[in-house]
């Protein structure tokens, strides 16, 4: 779980404690090192003080020692003392007294002393006080007869402390007595005073070896008025550990102290310098206390802050969140935070407003949904109704209907289409038009979905194509078993806002029409053939008649001539009929050969020479064709060119001009023949029908120009069959220009 995923209050708490913990850790380390440093400082200080006082005490003790040794080593006094021991007479006793006073107490500062005999009995004392005796000397003096000098401290009452210096008299290895010197120990009793100014609990104490431990022999700083024996006799507890004379222990007050013990020159005496731990650590303790105080305050403040934050920010937010969830679940009852004027308050107000609006718009929406649903249902019913009508309409149309999108993909076909192409209505939607309708032109060449394909033209040019005839394959075989059937196809673009969005193709199976047409053609063909017989008779008898000389009157000769002309016209009419029926029936087969179009044109013009001369027409032939060889059916080209050239001659006025031009652009481009005349021309309103069968322009009829109305029809049929095209420009009375574009190679 990431920190940021925690609830805000928890984040705050974690953050806050983190904020506290780091300084606390730092402080702990600080305190640890501070403690170590303080202990070290204390050791150093104690050692310093102890060394100073040790020297001072040693000096004092040595002073006493010297005096004691002076007296003990005095041989004159030893003799006097021996005499007194041997004869303890009054006289000898006085000698001792005098000797002591004269030799040792002359300055008056000599301490009290007393002498013991070898049994330990006091034989002489400078002070007549009770209690002096063997107990002040060492027992070993008497048992061994020899021992080193010894210090012994004796306390009396509350304040009096005496030190006794004792040592044996020995002469010629013979122990004979003991000297005991009593020293007032007062100077030592104020030892602790020296330490007073330095601190509050520091103490300097003298201790004497006592069995295994040490006993206090000087009064203490804190109990000068109490019986020192009861206090000073207290041992430091047995657990005290000596480490370079330094130890920690509980003192007579039961306080923990740091202390140093130093042995004086007299080995049974020691000096202790000590200080309370409490005092040593007091500054640190105070610091720690104030820090703890500050941290406690911070902690409290932080908790209060968090609580405040919780009450005023997080709790309302959580409430808002709960409310949002409730609304999400669609519950109507939810709690909101109390109103206030701060940001949360604004948020709550906004939330309430929003919720109200939401509920309001929800109910609006529901209402509108209901309204719209009703409307839609109504509309759907309407549409269904219309669809049923449309479906009925579509399926009742005898002609095939194919609707495509702008790419030519089929969207809809009706039942007639399905039947016509042997397909299933459902199977073809989504297929491309060219996959379903395998279109071929009337010469049987497949038509790719490119320029020339009616649907393609409709989609790309947004032009309507009018009932062009094609052949298409029928899936599963046609009625004649070949799989192909003729059809008429009209493709119309669907244009919405100037954009072509698709096309509608109407297809009609024209097998029957074609059949009728074929029968008609056949009939014409047979009829024409049959006509040729009698026409040939007429022609030949006419010829014979014309050859008979002198038999007829001039008028009759003219009649015969006219019969012959009419016969020729009849023949050409029959020839045209035959041509047309042959082309229409598709029985005309192309036999391409290499031809030279310019030669061909010249030949054609030559065949009309008679007529050209008669009408005094000027014919100019220009050959701008770059390439001479064309691989075409010469008869077909001749038929096309001859029809156009014959027309321009026929419809030229006297002294007219005809210019014929052959051109192409490159080896691969089509050959274009242009025939321009200044003849009668074609009226604009008749332009659309000029290529239709048996059509004759009104001005041609009026002008008495003979013709069958089949020439242009034939020419265009042939041009289309070999992949060419014929078009023209003309105005009534201003001549006409026809162009024939033919491929270089017959398809």
């Amino acid at each position: 779980m990431k920190f940021s995923d925690l609830k805000i209050t928890r984040q705050l708490i974690v953050f806050f404690f983190f904020l506290l913990t780091v300084p606390l850790l730092g402080l702990s380390i600080f305190f640890y090192f501070q403690t170590v440093r303080i202990i070290q400082d204390t050791k150093n200080n104690l050692r310093y003080v102890s060394v100073i006082h040790e020297n001072r005490l040693n000096t004092i003790l040595q002073g006493f020692n010297r005096r004691f040794e002076d007296m003990r080593a005095d041989s004159v006094f030893q003799d006097i003392f021996l005499d007194f021991l041997n004869v303890p007479s009054k006289e000898n006793r006085l000698k001792v007294e005098t000797a002591v006073v004269n030799r040792h107490i002359s300055d008056g500062s000599f301490p009290d002393f007393f002498l013991l005999n070898q049994d330990g009995t006091v034989v002489f004392s400078s002070d007549q006080r009770e209690g002096l005796g063997r107990n002040h000397a060492s027992d070993s003096f008497f048992t061994t007869g020899k021992a080193a000098r010894r210090w012994h401290i004796q306390k009396y009452g509350t304040t009096d402390v005496f030190a006794y210096l004792s040592g044996p008299y020995i002469r010629e290895n013979q122990f004979f007595g003991v000297l005991v010197l009593r020293v007032d120990f007062a100077p030592f009793l104020s030892l602790h005073e020296n330490f007073k100014t330095l601190n509050k609990t520091g103490e300097l104490q003298l201790v004497e070896a006592n069995g295994n431990g040490w006993r206090l022999i000087t009064p203490t700083r804190f109990s000068t008025t109490t019986n020192p024996s009861s206090l000073t006799d207290r041992l430091y507890d047995q657990t005290m550990v000596l480490e370079n004379n330094f130890f920690e222990a509980k003192d007579y007050r039961d306080r923990n102290v740091f202390a140093i013990l130093r042995l004086l020159d007299e080995k049974n005496l020691g000096l202790i310098v000590k200080i309370d731990k409490d005092e040593v650590f007091l500054p640190l303790l105070l610091l720690a206390r104030s820090i703890i105080l500050i941290f406690s305050f911070l902690l409290a403040f932080g908790l209060v802050l968090i609580f405040f934050f919780y009450v005023h920010v997080t709790r309302p937010l959580a409430q808002l969140v709960r409310a949002t969830k409730s609304i999400e679940k669609g519950e109507k009852n939810y709690d909101l935070p109390a109103e206030s004027k701060n940001e949360i308050g604004i948020l709550v107000t906004a939330f309430q407003r929003m919720t109200r609006n939401l509920l309001l718009s929800n109910s609006h929406l529901e209402k509108r949904v209901v309204e719209r649903t009703l409307m839609l249902n109504k509309r759907i019913a309407q549409i269904n109704n219309e669809k049923v009508k449309d479906d009925a309409l579509l399926s009742s149309i005898g002609e095939g209907l194919i609707v495509t999108d702008k790419e030519g993909v089929i969207l809809l076909v009706n039942q007639a289409t399905a039947t016509m192409f042997g397909i299933k209505k459902e199977d073809v939607s989504g297929s491309h038009f060219s996959e379903v309708v395998l279109l071929k032109n009337i010469s049987g060449r497949p038509m790719p979905f490119l320029a020339g394909h009616p649907v393609f033209e409709a989609l790309s040019g947004a032009k309507k194509t009018v009932g062009v005839e094609f052949i298409s394959e029928r899936f599963g075989g046609g009625s004649d078993g070949s799989g192909f059937f003729p059809l008429a196809l009209t493709a119309t673009p669907i244009v919405v806002n100037g954009q072509t969005i698709g096309s509608v193709a109407i297809v009609r199976d024209i097998t029957k029409e074609k059949e009728v047409d074929r029968m008609k053609s056949e009939f014409i063909s047979i009829a024409s053939h049959q006509l040729r017989g009698p026409i040939a008779s007429i022609k030949w008898y006419g010829e014979l008649l014309g050859k008979q000389k002198g038999t007829f009157q001039k008028e009759s000769r003219e009649f015969v001539e006219r019969i012959n002309v009419s016969t020729e016209h009849l023949i050409s009419l029959v020839n045209d009929f035959l041509n047309v029926s042959r082309i229409e029936s598709g029985s005309l087969k192309s036999e391409p050969k290499t031809i030279h179009p310019s030669v061909l044109v010249k030949n054609i013009v030559e065949t009309y020479q008679q007529e050209i001369e008669k009408k005094k027409i000027t014919v100019r032939i220009k050959n701008r064709s770059l390439f001479k060889d064309f691989f075409m059916d010469p008869e077909m080209i001749r038929e096309i060119y001859a029809n156009l050239i014959a027309n321009s001659i026929k419809y030229s006025k006297r002294c007219g001009n005809i210019s014929i031009r052959l051109s192409d652009e490159s080896e691969t481009t089509d050959l274009v023949l242009e025939i321009k005349d200044d003849g009668v021309g074609i009226a604009k309103e008749e332009h659309g029908r000029i290529f239709t069968k048996f059509f004759r322009a009104s001005n041609a009829l009026e002008g008495g120009y003979k013709g069958t109305g089949l020439g242009l029809y034939t020419a265009q049929m042939l041009a289309t069959q070999i992949g060419g095209r014929i078009w023209f420009e003309s105005e009534k009375g201003h001549g006409a220009t026809f162009w024939v574009r033919l491929p270089r190679k017959a398809k």
Partner: protein, 125 residues
């Protein structure tokens, strides 16, 4: 070779036309005989070998194509030139006839009678 007239067999069902052929050819000194269909023409061929045959294609009974085919099967008739004068002007028809050797093909309406006679004379002499 006076005395021995050239013999032309005319196979034509239209009597108007066969008359014209006969008249014109006789004027030119040919001996002629007219058959109105292929069968009778074949009978004539059995008796007499013509120098040339003028043949129509569309005839009742045996038509010109069948006649030509049967005739050409006979070795002796192999080299008799045949002038086909017909109403059929289609390329296929012409081609079909050319395969049957020694044929000239004319569409009746496309040629004058003078030319027919002239071409026959050229062919026979």
């Amino acid at each position: 070779m006076k005395g021995l007239k050239k013999f032309i067999l005319i196979v034509e069902d239209d009597s108007f036309l066969s008359d014209i052929y006969q008249n014109q050819l006789k004027q030119e000194g040919f001996e002629t005989e007219v058959s109105t269909d292929g069968k009778s023409a074949l009978k004539v061929l059995e008796k007499k070998r013509p120098n040339l045959i003028v043949l129509d294609m569309i005839m009742p009974g045996m038509n010109g194509f069948d006649f030509l085919e049967i005739m050409r099967k006979e070795k002796k008739n192999d080299d008799i030139p045949v002038f086909i004068l017909t109403n059929l002007g289609q390329d296929e028809d012409k081609k079909r006839c050319r395969e049957l050797r020694e044929c000239s093909y004319f569409v009746k309406t496309e040629i004058s009678i003078d030319d027919v006679v002239r071409k026959i004379k050229e062919q026979v002499s």
